[in-house]
């Protein structure tokens, strides 16, 4: 089993089940477990050199650009929604380091399986900006993109995707793609669902190559972490499965990157699954339909604004002379241009097929569906004839 040299993640040795009377000394605890944590880049942009992962300057810049793009797309989408030009949208501001940091550690052939708050990672995976706009404006067309074969669509049903991730990972190993792994994203609230537990258990029993990244943003809509769970960390949920678990600063893209990279190395080498808790904060409303002032202590936002993942990363790459104000101006201009192009493309889309729901019920259609399609089209014709 090959592991990256400075791995943050290890698997503890696993003695067999206890069979009395080979009991261990009952005075002392028989089994001990621990969870460690990781921060590399603190909120001021100071680097803990000793933990710095091996990332090229190119990749550092790529990561930064990805986070900025995600933030700007979020801004723009929120505005579109407020202008009534798009439906309800969940927002991702604050999550950029989690999703982009983890995605940077992935290979193209790895599978990206997540939910609705992974915008940054999705864009890095090649999803066009236009897609999210389409999707959140009620079009299935926004859930697919060429090259998206290994980027699954958003799972709105919380935590259900964790099981898909396990199945995909199983299939990869069985098909001999032993170097391919799966990264699965979910939220703190998601860890309460039974499916999360079943996925953790299946993943650990099968020792499949999957990395669960929990974006612990302290809220599940209005429900705070303390009402969601009694556990002091989410990482410790891995202990239930004798799975490696680690808690990382989720606003530190380097820490997220390193933990994910180590977990992926472990997974690729046959070492099984890992749980990563990335501690972060949801900086905007849950979705545009939500009003956090009803439940959120306002000082939280102030505290967490200081820990912004993008600000600290910019400081860091500026200190490394990889970035300057001019580049920043350029980047913002480029992003805006891309975004505006996507908005324009999105708003000019008219090629939606009204009866497409009938096309995709089954791969081979059936009389019953076709009869209903005919009836449906006939009705539409009558309706438009009626004026």
């Amino acid at each position: 089993m090959k592991m990256s040299e400075h791995s943050t993640i290890g698997i503890s040795s696993k003695p067999k089940t206890k069979h009395w009377p080979d009991t261990c000394d009952s005075e002392a605890p028989c089994h001990t477990f621990s969870i460690s944590s990781l921060q590399i880049l603190d909120e001021h942009g100071n680097l803990d050199e000793s933990r710095m992962p091996d990332v090229s300057s190119e990749d550092l810049v790529k990561l930064y650009r990805a986070m900025v793009l995600a933030r700007l797309v979020d801004d723009r989408t929120l505005k579109l929604q407020r202008q009534g030009r798009i439906g309800t949208v969940p927002l991702c501001t604050g999550h950029e380091a989690v999703t982009c940091g983890a995605t940077l550690a992935m290979r193209d052939e790895d599978w990206f399986i997540g939910s609705y708050r992974d915008l940054g990672g999705r864009l890095m995976r090649g999803e066009p900006i236009e897609n999210g706009l389409l999707y959140y404006n009620g079009h299935e067309e926004g859930a697919v993109f060429p090259g998206g074969e290994r980027t699954l669509p958003i799972s709105i049903i919380i935590a259900a995707q964790c099981l898909h991730a396990v199945g995909v990972a199983y299939a990869m190993r069985m098909k001999g793609e032993t170097e391919t792994a799966v990264v699965c994203f979910l939220g703190d609230g998601g860890t309460s669902e039974g499916d999360f537990h079943e996925a953790m258990n299946f993943a650990s029993v099968w020792q499949v190559p999957v990395v669960f990244v929990v974006a612990n943003n302290q809220w599940a809509i209005s429900v705070p972490r303390e009402k969601q769970m009694h556990s002091r960390t989410i990482a410790q949920k891995a202990i239930a499965y004798d799975m490696p678990g680690i808690q990382v600063d989720g606003n530190d893209a380097l820490a997220v990157y390193k933990a994910t990279k180590d977990a992926l190395d472990l997974a690729r080498s046959g070492g099984g699954p890992t749980l990563i808790e990335a501690v972060t904060y949801r900086m905007l409303m849950h979705t545009t339909a939500d009003d956090p002032t009803r439940y959120q202590p306002p000082e939280d936002l102030e505290i967490w604004a200081k820990r912004d993942p993008i600000t600290r990363f910019r400081k860091f790459i500026e200190q490394k002379d990889l970035w300057d104000d001019e580049q920043q101006t350029d980047l913002e201009a480029q992003c805006k241009q891309k975004i505006e192009a996507a908005v324009a493309a999105f708003e000019s889309r008219t090629d939606f097929k009204v009866d497409s729901p009938f096309d995709h019920v089954f791969g081979t259609s059936h009389t019953r569906i076709e009869q209903q399609r005919a009836e449906f089209l006939d009705m539409l014709k009558k309706e438009s004839a009626d004026g």
Partner: protein, 326 residues
């Protein structure tokens, strides 16, 4: 009398029942401080405290399973599923325990609980937020399925559901939540579960609908009456299961014609059962096939296509015309 919309009326019923019986509690995701994502539980947290208005962890089976325990032990839980599209995660608890504890123990243990859930389309919501799958619950013996259509019956039926000795699935047409207001009397109201309501009597054709579809249906009925001078009997089903056989059968025996309007996919749906009920008890009175206006046997599309997908006034009118002209 107060003019309330459906959200307010449901909130009123919850408040009244919680005030009346200290065993009534409510639990679900975001039902506390936030007052529910539709604000149906607004103010209850403040008034009745955290113990009786519980923000639960994000786990539907957990919500229903623990509600079952609460109900067995003498509470009257009103559980909220944030959207009916997520309620399937508790289907096993409902089927396996809530619906059966009474028969399993020949009445020694019972599960008087209500599970509320907004359902249905028309509000431009994300995937899983627009389905109308009441038939999934209606096929379960031991469970009642109730769907109000307006503020007034929502309030009175919810009160009845809370007082009912058995599990009630209470599906709320979310697109009617704030669509209109009705006069709601000051004193608590309770309506009998298991009965449909004849909204208006008529002689020529029976029109049956429920929930959100009542609004386009009423409009279509009015238009058809005006345009064709036809006399229409309109039934609001209100309880999907157990279904009010008598009301359907006696109406169809009188009119000989029937139109059913539902939002749900067509096959294996409430309209199928209504037609079967007519077959079982009144077939020979039919002068035309029963006409159904329904959703389709496709996955409910994203909202970009829901306007074309959902039954509307015009489709209902056409169906009435066709049935009369048959």
């Amino acid at each position: 009398m107060a003019k309330l919309n459906m959200v307010q009326a449901i909130n009123r019923a919850l408040d009244e029942e919680m005030a009346r019986d200290e065993n009534v509690i409510t639990l679900g995701q975001d039902v506390g401080l936030n007052g529910g994502v539709f604000r149906v539980t607004e103010g209850l947290h403040e008034k009745y405290g955290e113990e009786r208005v519980i923000d639960t962890p994000l786990a539907e089976s957990g919500i229903l399973g623990s509600s079952i325990g609460m109900a067995i032990a003498g509470l009257r839980p009103v559980a909220e599923m944030q959207f009916s599209g997520f309620s399937y995660l508790m289907f096993a608890q409902l089927e396996g325990h809530a619906s059966r504890m009474r028969s399993r123990t020949q009445g020694q243990h019972t599960v008087p609980l209500v599970v509320r859930m907004p359902y249905g389309g028309g509000v431009r919501a994300l995937e899983h937020h627009s389905e109308s799958h009441e038939a999934t619950y209606a096929h379960l013996p031991g469970v009642k399925v109730v769907i109000p259509s307006g503020p007034s019956n929502a309030r009175a039926l919810l009160a009845a559901a809370i007082r009912d000795p058995d599990p009630v699935v209470f599906m709320e047409p979310k697109c009617s939540y704030r669509a209109f207001r009705e006069d709601v009397p000051e004193e608590p109201q309770v309506m009998e579960i298991g009965k449909g309501q004849v909204v208006q009597e008529g002689a020529d054709v029976t029109v049956i609908s429920w929930g959100a579809m009542m609004r386009p249906t009423i409009k279509a009925v009015e238009a058809a009456q005006k345009d064709h001078g036809v006399s229409i009997e309109l039934i609001d089903l209100l309880t999907i299961s157990p279904m009010d056989t008598d009301k359907i059968v006696s109406s169809v025996k009188k009119t000989g014609r029937c139109v059913i309007v539902q939002e749900a996919p067509r096959s294996f749906s409430p309209s199928s059962e209504i037609i079967a009920t007519i077959n079982d008890h009144a077939l020979m009175y039919l002068e035309a096939p029963v006409k159904r206006v329904t959703g389709f046997d496709v996955v409910t599309p994203y909202f970009g296509k829901e306007q074309s997908y959902l039954p509307n006034e015009r489709r209902v009118r056409h169906a009435i015309e066709e049935t009369i002209g048959f």
